[in-house]
Amino acid sequence: MSKKTISDSEENNILRHEIDSLKLINDKLINDLLVANKVLTFKEEQRKRAEELGIANKENKNQEIINKELEKLSKSAKLASQYSLSLIEASRDPLITISPEGKITDMNEAMVKVTDTSRENIKGTNFKDYFTDPLKASEVYKEVFEKGFVVDYPLTIKDNKLTDVLFNGSTYKDDKGNILGAVIVARDITEQKKNEKELIEARVFAELATELAEVAKAKAEEAVKSKQQFLSNMSHEIRTPMNAIIGFTKVVLKTDLTDKQREYLNAIKTSGDALIVLINDILDLAKVDAGKMTFEKTPFKLATSISSMLHLFEIKIQEKNLQLIKNFDKNIPEVLVGDPVRLHQIILNLVSNALKFTNEGSITVEVKLIKQNEEKVNIEFSVKDTGIGIEGYKLEKIFENFQQASSGTSRIYGGTGLGLAIVKQLVESQGGSIEVTSEPMVGSTFKFSLEFQKTKEVTLKEVDQIEISYQNKNIKVLVVEDIALNQLLMKTLLDDFGFERDIASNGKIAIEKIQDNNYDVILMDLQMPEMNGFDATDYIRNELKSNIPIIALTADVTTVDLEKCTAVGMNDYIAKPVDERVLYSKIIKHVQRARLFDVAKKENSLNKQIRQTNLTYLLSKTKANPDTMMEMISLYLEQTPPLILSMKESLVNQDWNLLHSSVHKMIPSFSIVGIDKSFEEMAKKIQAYATSSEQTDAIHDMVLTLDEVCTQACKELKEEYLKLKNNK
């Protein structure tokens, strides 16, 4: 710029010179021209220079822009690197670079923090020195440099917390591909570990909790079981005496009594009955609780079943001067399949409830068909009374255990409040529903509906009943019962029926009696000393191979025992206290069945039974003299049973000497009555074992076999004896 200013003033000077020289045109023309030329040249130069300058200027400007951009770039690059650096620094994961020799070349703040050492002090140190396990640490960097990367390599940093880390890293190279070092990021997995640990702990706790829960569950189940067992035992303990009380009351009621006495006895009987009902109720509830309530599916006649049950209430209804109205839907199929006993129980509870709370008016029992299809019918039962009714707010509670609408009522009307609870359970367990509507002082209506299956089967019950009516009374019953009172009661009842009877006070005695006598049926108590009813039955079925009908007498109608009854081969059961009609009909039923069965069986198998005796020897010895034969046989019959008995008893008492002697005495007679030689050998073995007191189990079986053989021999010889006697 300044140059330009200078050239301008020079131009001015030259111009002035021109004016001066104009005056001196001639003189100075050449000079002027020269000068002009010079000027031109100069100008040209100037122009050139100016041009050059312009270019330079332009270039300068360009440079400036580049510079600016560079500046910008470097600025942004700086920013970017600062940004990534800050990112790296901000990372909570320690990040280091190491040289191929394993020396730390750089690191981030996290590394500084975690090692609690300044950057300066870290730089250049050995990578491996920062870990609890330097050997493993050196493997990390070896691996990085060998493979070029490392993934999730676990190490523990030697800081004050012993931070667990996972190493991830890779090498970095220069533009020629030479490895310069490795970048390694250590991911702090303290949290992860903590979570893992917590997870493990949680799992352990969960497992522990499951275990505890299982134990608790087992305990609870055990508790339920033992509760049932307890109830079962209790009910046995209560029912046994109750059995005697009610039974004897009934017996005494049949004798001549004054009106007063009859009244008192009736009171005893009613109370007893009520107590039994209560015990049954408690047992039923326990069964529901334990999930043991089962329902039969038997064909029965609904109409007859209900009306015969309602007969039970007739007396009470008359006594209270009430009316019993029955409405039975004629469209209901005659025979249905269901559980008549439970249905009875439900209606019985409802009707007796209605009866209890109604003092005037009527009780209406209605049975209606609601719907039916090919297979099923749905029937609604309702029991309506005109009694005291129930306040609305109490309606919900009446189905709970031990609830009556008001605590006051139980004092006036009695009852435990279990009845409706059971009804509800019974209905709902069968998939039905129950509801109640009531108005105080007007009455209540209980309605429930149940589903029954249809059937084409004819019920069997009636057939049974007809059979009973023409029944010959030649029945011999063995009662197995340990309690003297119950023995007496059974005696009285059986005598009343006109049956022959025999009593055994435990299973062992029963078994002996069965072997010596012919009974038609056995009434078997379950809980007895020495040998209980289950064991005795098992013995009768499996050892004696007898199919004699066995009816369990049980105070405990819980399923546990009933299952056991069938399992050991009992035919039926009668609940205590024994209802005499039930007793009678069950005895008759089983005796008849057995007799029919026997007749059929006898034809098949009478001849099949192996005879134990062979009279050839006796015949030759006596020269077939019937008198001598009879004498010999009767000698055998006289002496053998006591020997059998003594043999068995001595085995039980482990009196080996007596066992030896008893068997010893039996041996000679074997060959005389022609019992197979093998049994004689067996007897000799028993003798040998008895002297050495060894192999008691084997003895046991052999004694049983000998017993069977000799008992049968006696039976056969008895027959022979009678034949001989009759032929005389």
Binding site: Y636, S661, H664, K665, I667, S671
Partner: protein, 144 residues
């Protein structure tokens, strides 16, 4: 010995059936006079009847705890009259018992079995053979 008189034999056994059976056997095969006793005591009580031989059950005290056993009875018989030959009859085939019986001066020891009757019969024959030989020997000794 008076040969015109019947030989008198005592059978002692607590097994009534066996006793009867033996009695039948002897009655059939011999013309002995047979007396049967169910216990040692009964036999001793009748020892005054002077039997020519006794067949005695070894195991007499079967299931009667206080009854005399065979050996006791044997001893008792021998103490009353050592001349009466006693054949022990037992179902036990054991040498100790046999030896024991011989020590107690039994004439022989016969096992109860199917063949026991024949053995007993033979035994009794032997008894009388020996007795006869003894008599003869005595007679000759007297002569000398």
């Amino acid at each position: 010995m008076n040969t015109t008189q019947k030989i008198k034999l005592f059978l002692v056994d607590d097994d009534a059936l066996l006793l009867k059976s033996m009695e039948l056997d002897f009655k059939e095969h011999t013309d002995f006079e047979i007396e049967t006793y169910a216990t040692g005591e009964l036999c001793i009580n009748n020892i005054a009847k002077k039997p020519d031989a006794i067949i005695l059950d070894y195991h007499l005290d079967g299931i009667e705890k206080n009854a005399m056993n065979g050996i006791d009875t044997l001893d008792k018989i021998k103490s009353i009259n050592p001349e009466i030959p006693v054949i022990m009859h037992s179902s036990q085939d054991r040498i100790e018992i046999a030896i024991n019986c011989m020590h107690h001066k039994a004439f022989d020891y016969v096992i109860k079995s199917e063949t026991s009757f024949i053995r007993l019969q033979k035994n009794i024959e032997n008894i009388f053979k020996i007795r006869k030989m003894k008599h003869e020997l005595n007679w000759y000794m007297d002569r000398m």
